[in-house]
């Protein structure tokens, strides 16, 4: 009996199993009993027949093959593309469903084959893993089925399938509609067909995706050229933009989601539609930028930003445009802007706004474009073609040659600032908010200026004048401005000094009140006693012999001050002091705001009102140095705002330098202020003009001292860096240096080199013996 059972062989069982298997393959109904019998049969064959599992497998394969062959015949009977696709999808659908059923009864078969291989491989962990993996996806039979399909029908007709599917896609591109399910069905069969567990999408990718890409590429290669040739670049850009969107949507429909295919396809489209026509498209960018065609630029930007390096040339074009348009604008209005700070700054701001709105509208404020704008605007602001500030190069001070012109922009900017903060027609015309917004504009431009130290110097000089002459329009705004300067990153020591000046003025006001309370003859004098460190470092004092009226006050003030403070010495800055005098002549009485120097000159006539005084005698009377005397006299004989001058002189000269020792001066007894062509009997006029903060000579040296300060700052910064780094390469040093100094000025390569040499010479540092481009700090 047992022996009998032992005799169960594959050959016995198979004839009964086969019809069931065939039925299953053909999706014909099987009864429950048949289904269960199949399980039983597989079980016995695998258990009793040593060779059973393999035989069973081979037989199964044969039948699957046969079934597939029949299916293939049915599919291939279709001539027409769509019908073919439809038939294939139907057959595949059926077969694929069976792939999920048929393996179940053969589970035992799989175990047996795996167990045998387990014995041979004798690797327990391996077999355990395999036993656990008993799900359908990994099933041997299923793999067998799919592989068979793949090797036979699929290999034979995949070309036709793909071609047909691609033809449909092509037709859709040309505007015909069809059942998109056909293409999707094919794609799904490609995806499901793969039995490779590591890369389930392999077949799909190697075939379907590749074909799709290729077809797309070929299609657009042709179309793009065609469109470009017939319709021109601008229309082409619209076309490309449109097509890219379409293709992306199409890819989402026809390509396997989550496989990266869509991205790959998009990239492929971008390459064909944009990348390959890059030069043609880019040729259009400069003219569009020039014409300010923001909409078209926007489109171009959107397209070119898709391909690598597409945007870089546009950035270059934008930069070039800003520089050339900006400079052209400056040059065109050079006449006005070189003389009028207000117009100049307004022009600059207009340009900035124009460029900014271009970047905003055309390039959506993309950071790369903002950077390009900044870079180009910097060129415009710091350009020296329209006007230069001649600075002696550092070399001049240390002995070699050459000048380095710099933009005059910071000076004009500071002038403009002064016009806003001082009592001027401009500042009176504007509301407080307008002034604030304009000051903010100044700070905006200041950001782009390389030689900020020049701005600081002029700004401070203007502030000094405003504070000394009490001519600020709004003291609150003055102090706001100082804080704003701090906010935009101006060097702290500079800003602190400005803040200190305000503080000092307040202290001085208190002192003045006290003084006036203590003395008897006080109504005519105001004193400002200021901190020399904050106000006047390095400025030179000028001697003058004061008129008695003024001289008398001096000891009294000094006495008073000594009581208040100790350990301090006072120095009078008569070139900064000023006052009001009354001038009475045959026409009337006039109040004149004058400098102390002007006072000294005019009071010389009090003893001899009608006399003529020679230049020589004026000098003896005032003891003013020659340049100051000349300048003061000139301001009285040729004050620009006056029709009738205060003093007359002869012989006439063209400028103050030509006054001779014997040139004579006398008071104009016909002096009057003229209003509407009529002389007035009363009136007030300010003859101070621009308050002199230093002597003529030191003004000439002013620019010199800017350079001198730069040298010191550079040395200081180099040492600071070296102290920290101990050793550093030349390139690293240079970039750190620029970083430290950029809020004051941009150090030129030449100046850096000279200062390095100087520091090496003076043993603050040395070059590395092995690498001359490395510096070492010597403590």
């Amino acid at each position: 009996m047992l022996k009998d059972k032992g005799q169960v062989t594959f050959e016995d069982k198979w004839p009964n199993m086969r019809p069931i298997v065939l039925k299953l393959l053909k999706q014909e109904p099987v009864t429950q009993i048949e289904w269960q019998d199949l399980f039983g049969a597989v079980h016995s064959v695998c258990l009793w027949d040593e060779r059973g599992p393999y035989k069973l497998r081979d037989a199964l394969q044969q039948d699957i093959m046969m079934y597939i062959k029949q299916a293939q015949a049915r599919v291939l009977a279709q001539r027409e593309d769509q019908a073919l696709l439809k038939a294939y999808i139907a057959e595949w659908g059926k077969f694929f469903t069976q792939c999920n059923y048929l393996p179940t009864p053969f589970r035992q078969l799989e175990n047996s084959i795996n167990n045998i291989s387990k014995v041979t491989s004798s690797s327990t962990s391996n077999s355990q893993k395999k036993n656990n993996n008993n799900n359908i996806e990994d099933s041997l039979v299923r793999k067998l089925m799919l592989d068979s399909w793949n090797q036979s029908i699929f290999m034979d007709i995949k070309q036709r399938l793909q071609d047909s599917a691609m033809k449909l896609v092509q037709a859709e591109r040309n505007g015909e509609s069809f059942d998109s399910q056909l293409v999707i069905g094919v794609r799904e069969s490609y995806v499901n067909l793969c039995s490779n567990p590591v890369d389930k999408l392999q077949i799909y990718r190697d075939n379907f995706e590749a074909a799709y890409m290729q077809a797309t590429e070929e299609f657009y290669k042709l179309k793009a050229n065609e469109h470009l040739l017939t319709n021109g670049v601008q229309s082409y850009m619209k076309y490309a933009d449109q097509r890219l969107k379409e293709e992306e949507a199409r890819a989402h429909r026809y390509l396997e989601p989550g496989s990266g295919s869509v991205a790959a396809l998009t990239q492929c489209c971008e390459k064909v539609l944009i990348g390959e026509h890059l030069p043609t498209l880019l040729a259009e960018s400069a003219p569009l930028i020039k014409a300010g065609e923001t909409e078209k630029l926007q489109l171009m930007f959107r397209l070119l930003d898709r391909v690598p390096e597409g945007v870089t040339p546009i950035l270059r074009d934008l930069e070039a445009h800003i520089v050339s348009a900006g400079l052209a604008d400056m040059v065109a209005s050079a006449d006005i802007i070189t003389t009028d700070s207000e117009k100049y700054v307004e022009r600059l701001l207009d340009l900035f706004k124009t460029f900014s709105s271009l970047v905003k509208d055309a390039f959506m404020d993309d950071p790369r474009f903002l950077t390009a704008r900044d870079k180009a605007y910097k060129c415009v602001v710091n350009d020296t073609t329209v006007f230069k500030l001649e600075l002696p190069s550092s070399a001049l001070i240390r002995g070699s040659k050459g000048t380095a012109p710099e933009s005059k922009c910071p000076e004009l900017l500071a002038n403009y600032c002064d016009m806003l903060l001082r009592k001027t027609p401009l500042s009176k015309r504007l509301t407080s908010e307008q002034i604030e917004s304009r000051l903010r504009d100044v700070l905006l431009v200041l950001k782009y200026i390389e030689n900020k130290d020049v701005f600081m110097r002029y700004h401070k000089a203007h502030l000094t004048r405003r504070l000394i002459l009490d001519s600020s329009a709004d003291s609150e705004k003055e102090e706001d401005m100082v804080e704003w300067l701090r906010e935009v990153g101006m060097p702290a020591d500079y800003v602190n000094k400005l803040a200190r000046m305000f503080q000092d003025i307040k202290v001085s006001e208190d002192l003045n009140t006290q003084f006036r309370g203590e003395t008897t003859r006080h109504d005519a004098i105001n004193i400002k006693i200021l901190n020399a460190g904050a106000w006047a470092r390095g400025s030179e004092r000028v001697t003058v012999s004061l008129p008695l009226e003024l001289e008398d006050y001096i000891p009294e003030v000094e006495e008073f001050y000594k009581k208040k403070h100790s350990g301090r010495k006072l120095q009078w800055y008569h070139h900064m002091s000023n006052g009001t005098i009354t001038f009475a002549n045959s026409v009337g009485r006039f109040d004149l705001d004058v400098t102390t120097f002007q006072m000294a000159v005019l009071f010389a006539w009090n003893q001899r009102p009608l006399e003529k005084i020679s230049y020589e005698n004026a000098r003896l009377a005032t003891e003013l140095p020659d340049p100051e005397l000349r300048r003061t006299l000139w301001s009285l004989v040729a004050f620009p705002k006056l029709k009738r001058q205060l003093l007359c002189y002869e012989p006439a000269v063209q400028n103050p330098k030509d006054f001779a020792e014997n040139t004579t001066f006398w008071v104009n007894q016909e002096f009057a202020l003229i209003k509407n062509g009529k002389p007035q009997r009363r009136g007030k006029i300010n003859l101070i003009g621009r308050l002199q903060l230093s002597t003529e000579r030191s003004q000439l040296e002013d620019n010199h001292s800017i350079v001198q300060l730069r040298i010191l700052r550079t040395q200081e910064a180099i040492i600071k860096i070296l102290k920290m780094r101990k050793r550093i390469t030349n390139t690293a040093l240079q970039s750190e240096l620029v970083e430290i100094l950029k809020n004051m000025f941009l150090p030129s390569k030449k100046m850096i080199k000279e200062q390095l040499e100087w520091l090496i010479e003076h043993k603050y540092m040395r070059r590395d013996d092995e690498d001359i481009n490395t510096f070492i700090y010597m403590a």
Binding site: I525, L530, Y553, V557, R568, L570, S577, G579, A584, M599
Partner: protein
């Protein structure tokens, strides 16, 4: 007094002499600068000019920016001068003048 001047002047440029001045002072805004009366204008301790606040005060200045300027100068008997802040820290370690090594005693303080 100005009333008289005025009348005299209004009569014209006759031979008015002392009181009838052609130019009379109405207001004078006199400007002077003060500085510490020192021989060396740099504080040898903090290396900052004595006219500026010393380094420590500069660092703290932001807090009470409109407080009175307190960083004054001090003179020793040896006539050397320093920031008072710097010197008061210095004497805690060494009661000698950093420049001449004499025993430090205050001659006067700046005010």
């Amino acid at each position: 007094m100005s009333g008289d001047d005025c009348d005299a002047l209004d009569r014209g440029d006759s031979d008015g002499q002392k009181s009838d001045k052609m130019f009379t002072l109405k207001k004078w805004n006199a400007v002077a600068m003060w500085s510490w009366d020192v021989e060396c204008d740099t504080c040898a301790i903090c290396r900052v000019q004595v006219m500026d606040a010393c380094l420590r005060c500069q660092g703290e200045s932001k807090k009470d920016s409109y407080g009175k300027q307190d960083c004054v100068v001090v003179w020793g008997e040896c006539n050397h001068s320093f920031h008072f802040c710097c010197m008061s820290l210095w004497v805690k370690q060494n009661n000698r003048c950093p420049l001449c090594q004499q025993e430090w005693s205050i001659q006067r303080m700046g005010k």
